[in-house]
Symmetry: C2
Subunit: 345 residues, 2 copies
DNA sequence: ACGTTAAACTTTAACGTTGCACCACTTGGC
DNA sequence: GCCAAGTGGTGCAACGTTAAAGTTTAACGT
């Protein structure tokens, strides 16, 4: 048989020879083609099972021009995969992709990735059937190159206004309204905002929040904002800056939970009690938000589902079932203990 | 030529034809083989650049029998990629793999993965040149099947005693001693342990910690432990259980930071102040440990480096530079504010 | 002038699948 | 008795690369 010292792997040929059928037949069985009779199918499957035969993924991809792989691209941040926000989305991507028989490959949008146009190559080289971008920023104009490329890619929780670029994202307008209503309802009249500034969604969110406050009669003088870089450290520093600028603020609205967590640390260091002295509200509802002290009130974005939907979108474009994919998901308020009635200081 | 309406991609053939050289020459240039003259090399590279040519990864893998892909296998937990512990390790893996020209593929050790022996198939099908297992448990005896397989795989932060299975891990014995010395040095005589119970490392750690306490004169009656499942929720419940069993404990030692964070939340709910009423020490030093209130004292395990080293190991086995790889990394104490002098209650 | 060696390629045969075109046989309608 | 359609396959040429062995040319020592 095939094992005369040459430690070669079992291939489709071995199975075909043993079953006395052609290569094509084995291939058809492998791909569940109905044109093969039950009898033949069983004979082949038995042989496959017995040899623990595993088709070579590369040969298959090469011949079929489809890799059954999805690539997910995250920004070039330090230890980026340790970020819970990205992790939640990746989890959603992974699980949905797996259900559909897809593998997921990791990529980081670092300098090389961008300047060498590797994001295009990933698709050109057929290494992936589709690409999902998480956490891209509004300065990532390289993405525009892809707009009319027809390549299956989608942005997750981000978008470019007036562009035909595919995306799935949370409803940031609704988030802003929900947060504003909650804080205003508690009587807060002096609010600090910790915002991200590098995405269109974050900017739209901040503007919508401010608008909602004004509509409800808040004076613009009583709304300040600082850039919190979407990070704990940024939230920490931003909170300090807000307090130094206006010591009488009674609530901080953070554009994501990480900044909120950083802010709470800064408040604790200053000896301010949350929510007695000052309220804090976050956004995303990442899992750690349940285990802060006090528990963080936040706007829930279903990041996991966002990831799963992204997979859906990329694959339906790949399969030419649709040419455009733009979805917005509803959000909800999660009340925990970090917000309470305003109390002037 | 090749472009009569058929929208076929640029291949090595096109480059070769244009440059008037053979396929092999282009291939050799692509692989930086020194046997090609500078002049030819430049001509070929120029053409490659101009056409934005990207070699087909599958064809290359098929022909060379090497995928330049590493697979990382994480346990089948809910939203597992949102776990900071795994994320830190994955970050280390990703970055080191990238430096070495490797891609990383995600896998989860779910039921199908295990029962269908997919972990073997991943290597058999050559989808990956090596596999890194993170967070495997002592019950994952399927790993034994791989022991003598010669396949390049390594366990990260776990091991099986008396087995030739490759691993990289933190020095859990040193962790235990460091933690015990720290707590004992602060005068604690009544200690609760929040432990993991599903890995050999965690069990060895707990035993070593208890041993160190006893050597320093602590009575076994004053050392209790609860299983905290390595999670925040487990740490929360474990802490409550420990306090109900022995209300006078003055310190909690947690086998990872996540349990410590859960415990701190439980203590806060009970109205206990950390560290005034009770000290808490964790393990790992995951990034969020800096942003808890108060900051978490912990033992630092360099998870990122553990991941990078794992890549090193798997690849050196793949390249047959070594047949066995077992490394232990030193750890260190990081003092923040969650531990302080014992005060009896 | 001659053989030897090295440099710089080229030729050819894999690598392990899949898609397409084709074929042989059966069934059935008229 | 002949054609049409359906069933259950087969054979072969891709797919795009690399590895191994072979060829040509130039350089060099004796």
């Amino acid at each position: 048989m095939r094992k005369e010292g040459k430690s070669t792997r079992t291939t489709i040929k071995d199975i075909a020879r043993e079953c006395g059928v052609s290569l094509s037949t084995v291939s058809l069985v492998l791909n569940n083609n109905p044109r093969i009779s039950q009898a033949t199918r069983e004979k082949v499957l038995e042989s496959i099972e017995r040899h623990q035969y595993q088709p070579n993924a590369f040969a298959s991809s090469l011949a079929s021009r489809s890799s059954h792989v999805l690539s997910v691209v995250v920004p070039h941040l330090n230890h980026v995969f340790a970020d819970v926000y990205f992790g939640e989305i990746v989890s959603g991507i992974y699980e949905h992709a797996t259900e559909l028989g897809y593998k997921v490959l990791l990529d980081v949008a670092n300098h090389r990735f961008v300047s060498s146009r590797e994001f295009i190559r990933v698709m050109k080289s057929r290494r992936a059937d589709g690409v999902l971008f998480i956490g891209s920023s509004m300065y990532d104009d390289y993405l525009m190159e892809l707009e009319h490329s027809g390549y299956p890619f989608v942005l997750i929780n981000h978008y470019f206004p007036n562009r035909g670029i595919n995306y799935v994202m949370a409803d940031y307008n609704q988030s802003a309204s929900l947060a504003a209503d909650h804080l205003l309802g508690l009587g807060h009249k002096n609010i600090g905002i910790l915002a991200g500034t590098t995405t269109h969604t974050a900017i739209a969110f901040r503007e919508q929040f401010i608008r909602a406050c004004k509509i409800n009669g808040l004076s613009p003088d009583h709304i300040n904002w600082a850039d919190g870089w979407f990070t704990e450290q940024g939230g920490y520093e931003g909170a300090e800056w807000l307090l130094s600028k206006n010591p009488s603020i009674t609530a901080i609205m953070a554009g994501n939970d990480k900044m909120a967590i950083g802010a709470m640390r800064a408040l604790a260091k200053r000896g301010l009690k949350v929510p007695d002295d000052i309220s804090v509200i976050g956004m995303d509802d990442i899992p750690p938000a349940q285990f802060t002290n006090p528990g963080l009130t936040t706007i829930r974005h279903d990041l996991y589902r966002l990831g799963a939907l992204g997979v859906e979108g990329a694959l339906s474009i790949f399969k030419k079932q649709t040419s455009s994919f733009q979805e917005i998901l509803p959000v909800s308020l999660v009340e925990r203990e970090s917000t309470g009635p305003a109390r002037s200081r």
